[in-house]
């Protein structure tokens, strides 16, 4: 009984702040914590504010590209590492753990310094031959995000590979399937849940990241960068409206994912 009570307490702890955000998104007043009556105005304002919609689109592009690239490269890498032994394999293992261990702020700083150094070296030459200068932009954020998420994906896929039923692969080979056919028909379907998990996780991490983008986004404003500067300035309920919408959207996606994944779970 007391356990149940504790659980209730934790769920209140987890949800009270979110409820507060959602509640004040309906505030008619200009200041978030100062209730002036019910209104939906801030939703309208948030989604007609070109800066917010652009920041949202920017974040979606970055997270979309990051998740696809990181999952593809990560899955390939996990498959490759499975076939490797020796010192090169150990080197990769070390790099994967270092990528996860190095804090975001250090990744942001080090990639910033590296980009700036490279740009300074390359740009005069590029200009001389009439090409465009290299600049910080979406691609620098995506590159830095892929680095971090790539390592996460490798770990997820590898966990799945380790737990995989090898007899299926052997059976497939006994039936003289080509290596590629074995991969497509046996390995890939078995990895699918983990690949989806990798996509989902890397999308979230990338969409949520503030600190790396803060350093390498150049002129671009991602949604977290916009939210951060709004919080510092004193937030209008506009931000609450965006937060609530993002929460509801991700909830809907989560439910949808649950629904879509169910048949495949049965199939297994």
């Amino acid at each position: 009984m007391s356990m149940r009570l504790y659980a209730v307490f934790i769920y209140i702890f987890l949800y009270a702040p979110i409820a507060l955000i959602a509640f004040f998104s309906f505030n008619a007043g200009r200041y978030a914590m100062d209730w002036q009556g019910f209104s939906l105005d801030w939703y309208g304002k948030a989604f007609t504010n070109p800066i917010i919609t652009k920041a949202l689109v920017t974040s979606l592009i970055i997270a979309g590209c990051t998740s696809v690239i990181a999952t593809t490269v990560g899955t390939l890498c996990a498959l490759g590492l499975e076939r490797m032994r020796g010192s090169l394999r150990q080197l990769f293992d070390a790099l994967i753990y270092i990528a996860i261990m190095v804090p975001g702020v250090v990744i942001g700083i080090s990639t910033l310094i590296a980009f700036v150094t490279v740009f300074d070296a390359v740009n005069p030459a590029l200009e001389a031959i009439g090409m465009a200068r290299l600049q910080m932009g979406l691609w620098t954020v995506i590159a830095a995000h892929v680095l971090f998420n790539l390592a996460v994906v490798v770990l997820i896929i590898r966990a799945r590979l380790a737990g995989m039923d090898r007899s299926l692969v052997e059976a497939s080979e006994d039936l003289y399937a080509t290596p590629f056919a074995t991969f497509r028909q046996v390995v890939l379907p078995a990895l699918m849940p983990s690949i989806l998990a990798g996509l989902l996780l890397s999308f979230t991490f990338s969409f949520e990241d503030f600190i790396i983008a803060f350093f390498v986004a150049g002129p671009n404003t991602t949604l977290p960068i916009y939210v951060f500067s709004s919080i510092r300035r004193g937030v209008t309920p506009e931000i609450n409206a965006i937060g609530t919408t993002v929460l509801l959207t991700s909830l809907a996606l989560l439910v949808l994912a649950q629904f879509l994944l169910r048949p495949s779970a049965k199939a297994r």
Binding site: Y15, L95, M101, G104, S110, T204, I211, L254
Partner: protein
């Protein structure tokens, strides 16, 4: 571990599979970290930035950020410990006590907050801990002038709040795998529930605790937003000192030295942690996977 090998033993295929990842690691991890180390021996340019030099001054100057290191190295482990303490009973409830029907829903409910913007959740805590929040309610009870926001306490509350889901999941997974017959056997042998918890459940769930703790610890060590928003720029972490060095005082070489020191500290801590806490093979495997 059996090999997936017979698919194809071609070395070229293997190389092609790992090459893209290798390029990312080399150009965006190894190279930048090398550049940071080189910068850490440089000097601050006149108007800020980096000027080539070879000096150990930046490392000698590290004690000037002693308090930031101290804050990080005390609050990050403390925050991790508190998160584990709060998460464990919930994970236990979910894995052992909750009805199987409601279990999935309850689990999803733990994860959902993780899907809302971290920034917004901290922002909510600024409101809750600010003087129009909890302190004003407590004032009705006669407890006046309680100040939480912009103190280490606010940062710890934020840490527990922010990372609880990350801690609950691995603990839940390790408890779920636990064979309930073990508990029954233990009870049959006359152990009371506390003893069977301490002697059976807890040891078997330690891998989950170890994984969760490592995740939360790594994330807390590099925090910037949490101390910035809930610590009001007063409770300084190394992450804040770094942002400050790069975006305010423009002392890149010193910032590079602080970065190198942070990474070195984390590396040593984690290696020691893996040696001692995760030394048991099963714990280690569960923790890394």
């Amino acid at each position: 571990m059996p090999q997936l090998a017979p698919i194809s033993r071609s070395k070229t295929v293997t190389a092609l599979l790992v090459a893209p990842a290798g390029l990312f690691f080399f150009f965006l991890l190894v190279l930048p970290l090398i550049v940071v180390v080189i910068y850490s021996f440089g000097a601050r340019a006149d108007a800020g930035g980096y000027a080539p030099a070879f000096t150990l001054d930046n490392y000698a100057n590290l004690p000037a950020r002693g308090q930031a290191f101290f804050n990080t190295l005390t609050l990050a482990p403390l925050g991790t410990l508190l998160t584990a303490l709060f998460a464990y009973p919930l994970a236990y409830f979910l894995a052992v006590k909750a009805s199987p029907k409601s279990r999935t829903l309850l689990l999803v409910l733990v994860i959902v907050p993780f899907w809302t913007s971290q920034l917004l959740r901290y922002y909510a805590w600024i409101m809750i801990l600010g003087s129009k929040g909890i302190p004003s309610w407590l004032a009705y009870l006669g407890i006046s002038d309680l100040r939480i926001i912009n103190t280490p306490w606010a940062v710890l509350i934020g840490a527990v709040y922010g990372f609880l889901p990350l801690m609950v999941l691995p603990i839940y997974v390790s408890l779920e795998k636990l064979d309930k017959r073990l508990l029954e056997a233990s009870a049959d042998l006359g152990a009371n529930s506390w003893r069977s918890f301490l002697q059976v459940t807890l040891p078997l769930s330690l891998p989950g605790v170890a994984t969760g703790s490592m995740l939360v610890f790594i994330l807390l060590m590099g925090e910037y937003i949490l101390p910035q928003l809930l610590g009001g720029g007063k409770v300084f972490f190394i992450g804040n000192a770094l942002v400050d060095l790069f975006l305010q005082s423009r002392n890149w070489p010193f910032g590079a030295a602080v970065s190198t020191a942070l990474v070195a500290i984390m590396f040593v801590t984690i290696v020691i942690y893996m040696r001692f806490v995760l030394s048991r093979g099963d714990v280690r495997r569960a923790a890394l996977v």
